[in-house]
């Protein structure tokens, strides 16, 4: 629980630092990308802090390259 609160706190600090200057310069697209990435980050962080398993990109890579490896090393 404490960890999730910490992550939300970090997200709040990031929002506080970044958003005012983006609004000031009217960078709309940057703001959208920024919010999406931050949402992904907070989501992953919450899931990890609650002990849920996060999909591991390395498992995907291993799945893709395993046939190649098996074909080469034989």
């Amino acid at each position: 629980m404490l960890k999730s609160v910490g992550i939300l706190l970090v997200a709040a600090i990031i929002l506080f630092i970044e958003v005012p200057s983006l609004l000031e310069k009217k960078y709309k697209k940057e703001l959208i990308v920024f919010s999406m990435l931050l949402a992904i980050g907070v989501g992953l962080g919450m899931a990890h802090s609650m002990g849920k398993s996060i999909p591991n990109p390395n498992d995907l890579l291993t799945f893709i390259f395993k046939p190649l490896h098996d074909a080469l090393i034989r």
């Binding site: 970090v10 997200a11 990031i14 630092i17 970044e18 983006l22 960078y27 697209k29 940057e30 703001l31 990308v33 920024f34 990435l37 931050l38 992904i40 980050g41 907070v42 992953l44 962080g45 990890h48 398993s53 996060i54 591991n56 990109p57 390395n58 890579l61 291993t62 390259f65 395993k66 190649l68 490896h69």
Partner: protein
């Protein structure tokens, strides 16, 4: 989103040297000695030689369009959508490598330096510095690397001099016992970690360098100097520890620094090794992170890449905690899948670019950015 950031070719040399040494200084001797045994240093020499060829290919690609970065060249060569998709793959790779290196530093620090600190804490601290560096821009990174390189070579010299009394020449004999296949297998690690992964440097070469012509030479020389450092470290590991111990340890160079003993007075100077490793690792990580963030900004046509740094820094910390469940997984991954992934990004993709460029040469020559 082109910024008017320029670094000098000397600063680029420093970046290339630190990038080439990178993680190799601490963990590579073990990978090299695993197959090639006491001939690991021959594998290192061959690896550096082949690495130079790959760097030469990168400089060729860089000089097609001296004012554009790698991501923009991709888009120009393959068209809008395929180019963006390939660039996204490149960005994903560099981002994943950032997380991998952060995991390396986290495991090392929690294993050897600060055993009671959780990995999340060390990684967060590193990520804060990383985000800060990328926000301040390439010039700041290059200048800090200029300071680092002096510290690096001072400590490296100190280490080499103080370890030299422990050298046992018997450890390296018999020379050339390993067959060609195992030497080639070993040198592949060096080629991939120090030269093939240097594809991310194409994000700053030659677009952000003020003397592009001399930077070409600099790229090759930097790679060669970095390779020499790796060769020296590998040779010392074999000469002092012996092939068996080098292959069995996870951090052989760290064990090497522990062996230093000058008159029972100067002992246990392995903290110098930690400093060397963190300097190289940080520079390499910063360049990967910069490449991924700047690349993503260019793919999405953003006006400024800085807003992406904080969220991606957060994601990098979380990724670094989850990508490797344990060390065995990591060892297996980095000796199989990571090699193929790096080769796909760093060799297959550039060769594809060469083929497409050869086909579309006439059309591309009309482009105003062509050299």
């Amino acid at each position: 989103m082109m910024q008017n950031v320029k670094i000098s070719s000397y600063q680029f040399l420093v970046l290339v040297i630190l990038f080439t040494i990178g993680t190799s200084i601490l963990i590579l001797p073990s990978d090299l000695a695993e197959n090639a045994k006491q001939d690991a240093w021959i594998a290192a020499i061959i690896g550096t030689g082949i690495g130079l060829l790959i760097i030469w290919l990168f400089t060729k690609i860089g000089f097609w369009f001296p004012k554009l970065t790698y991501v923009q060249v991709n888009e120009l060569l393959f068209g809008k959508w395929i180019g963006k998709a390939l660039s996204l793959l490149f960005v994903f790779a560099t981002f994943l490598f950032t997380a991998t290196l952060m995991y390396y530093s986290g495991t090392f620090l929690t294993l050897h330096v600060m055993p009671n600190t959780p990995m999340a804490a060390t990684n967060t601290l590193l990520a804060i510095v990383l985000v800060m560096a990328v926000r301040l821009g390439l010039e700041t990174i290059a200048r800090s690397a200029e300071i680092f390189i002096a510290v690096f070579f001072l400590l490296f010299f100190l280490l080499v001099v103080s370890i030299s009394p422990e050298v046992r020449i018997e450890n390296i004999q018999p020379i050339l016992e390993a067959d060609i296949k195992s030497i080639a297998q070993s040198s592949l690690f060096l080629i991939v970690t120090s030269s093939v992964d240097a594809v991310c440097l194409l994000m700053i070469f030659p677009a952000f360098i003020n003397q592009p012509k001399s930077a070409k030479k600099t790229f090759l020389i930097g790679n060669l100097i970095g390779g020499l450092v790796v060769i020296i470290i590998t040779m010392l590991c074999i000469l002092v520890l012996g092939a068996d111990l080098t292959a069995r340890q996870m951090y052989p160079s760290y064990g090497l620094a522990k062996k230093v003993n000058i008159g029972n007075f100067v002992t246990r100077i392995e903290a110098t090794m930690v400093a060397l490793w963190l300097i190289c690792l940080f520079t390499k990580m910063v360049l990967y992170f910069y490449a991924s963030i700047f690349g993503l900004g260019q793919i999405l046509n953003l006006k400024d890449y800085r807003p992406l740094t904080y969220p991606l820094g957060l994601i990098v910390v979380i990724l670094s905690l989850v990508i490797f469940p344990n060390v065995i997984y990591q060892q297996k991954f980095s000796t199989t899948t990571e090699l193929y992934f790096s080769l796909t990004i760093g060799i297959f993709l550039p060769l594809l670019m060469v083929i497409v460029y050869a086909i579309r040469k006439k059309q591309l020559k009309k482009n105003p950015d062509h050299s």
